[in-house]
């Protein structure tokens, strides 16, 4: 177990991207960054720049316009990276399912690692999702608990 692998699990920097959500899930994502939940305890820091991020947190269904942006952002994140789909919309399309402009869930465009259910997803569920993603990452890099 190398120190780099251990650090990768200890310091996930997230980037939050809103596809075409109703904004409900975005507010919950931001709520989990507030002092009440304080995700910085786990080393989670919100980044505004894909080049510094490790975890892409996506809310809302993918539409034809955001698909390109989403792919672009994903490509700019250096490896190793994780994708978390937050909310019913990001997981499956949710209430926007079958709209004329909607492709569906995030997994139509990106390989999603963790799906967080809920409409809107609760902050506790989002933090759970990030922790789950980290467990998956630690298995992948060989420091599984």
């Amino acid at each position: 177990m190398g120190i780099i692998q251990k650090s990768q699990v200890k310091s996930p920097w997230i980037m939050h991207f809103c596809n075409s959500s109703c904004n409900g899930c975005d507010i919950e994502v931001l709520a989990s960054l507030t002092p009440l939940y304080d995700v910085e305890r786990f080393g989670i820091v919100n980044m505004g720049n894909p080049k510094h991020a490790d975890v892409l947190v996506v809310t809302g269904p993918v539409n034809y316009r955001t698909a390109r942006v989403l792919k672009n952002l994903y490509d700019q994140i250096p490896d190793p990276k994780m994708v978390i789909a937050v909310g019913a919309c990001a997981s499956t399309g949710g209430v926007f399912h079958n709209c004329y402009n909607i492709l569906g869930g995030v997994d139509k465009v990106l390989p999603v690692d963790v799906y967080v259910p809920g409409c809107a997803a609760r902050p506790e569920a989002i933090i759970d999702g990030v922790v789950l993603a980290l467990q998956k990452l630690s298995k992948a890099v060989g420091v599984a608990k």
């Binding site: 780099i4 200890k10 304080d38 080393g43 820091v45 980044m47 720049n49 080049k51 490790d54 250096p78």
Partner: protein, 286 residues
Amino acid sequence: MSQLWIAVIAVVAAPFVGGFLSGIDRRVTARLQGRYGPPIVQPFYDFFKLLGKGRIATSKTQFIWIISYLVFMIACLLFLVLQQDILLLVFLLGFAGISFVLAGFSTKSPYSHFGANRELLQILSYEPILLLFALGVYSQTGSFMISDILASEAPLLASIWPIFIALLVVLTIKMRKSPFDIATSHHGHQELVKGIMTEISGPYYALVTLTEWYELVLLLGIVALFWANPLWIGILIALAAFVLELFVDNINARMTGGWMVRFSWAVGLVLCIVTLTYWWIMKGVF
């Protein structure tokens, strides 16, 4: 021989001290904001994680400038611990800052360019104060050598304390704390995406972090020179200045670049010039 050992120990130990201090920084900041905060060793986790990230370089020259930023900063630290010329130290620090600016300019991203321009503004704000600080040292000890400061009995703080206040402003600017975190900022604060750091990612980001740790130790060392005899009082003063910066960071909002230049010149430069003029009249030192 002993000089060599001092140099080696300083180069090896400084990142640990710097990383530990920035861990305390994040913890204290979190407490001030009513949060629990990350573990003290979090900066080291971040550092090693960044080292292990994939390389996405948008320009090859950027890497060279970041390396030279690091090398010049280490050279500055060596000047301090080997008790060399403080004037040359200030010039080397200027070179280090310019290298970082060039790293920002060597990519095509407009955010990076904005950040680099703002970094230039920061250099414009603090460099004159540092130069006048060196002159202030000269007015007291009659030489620019740090060894002479350490040898002199009277503390600099007693005679040129206004320059100390000006140096605190420099410390805020160099530590990238509010209200002066305009080129880039820490703890996931955002400023024009990430300012000058926008295109610096992965292992290169780690190198910049390392340089910042060296820089922090270097600046606190310079602050400690204000009470060089005995040095432990100086170190306590430096640590107090560090904690003061954390408070300043948390009670201020970010200001604009122009305001920063006006403030640091109006307060810092005036304090320095008044002190120097006073000693010129009293002692006729220059």
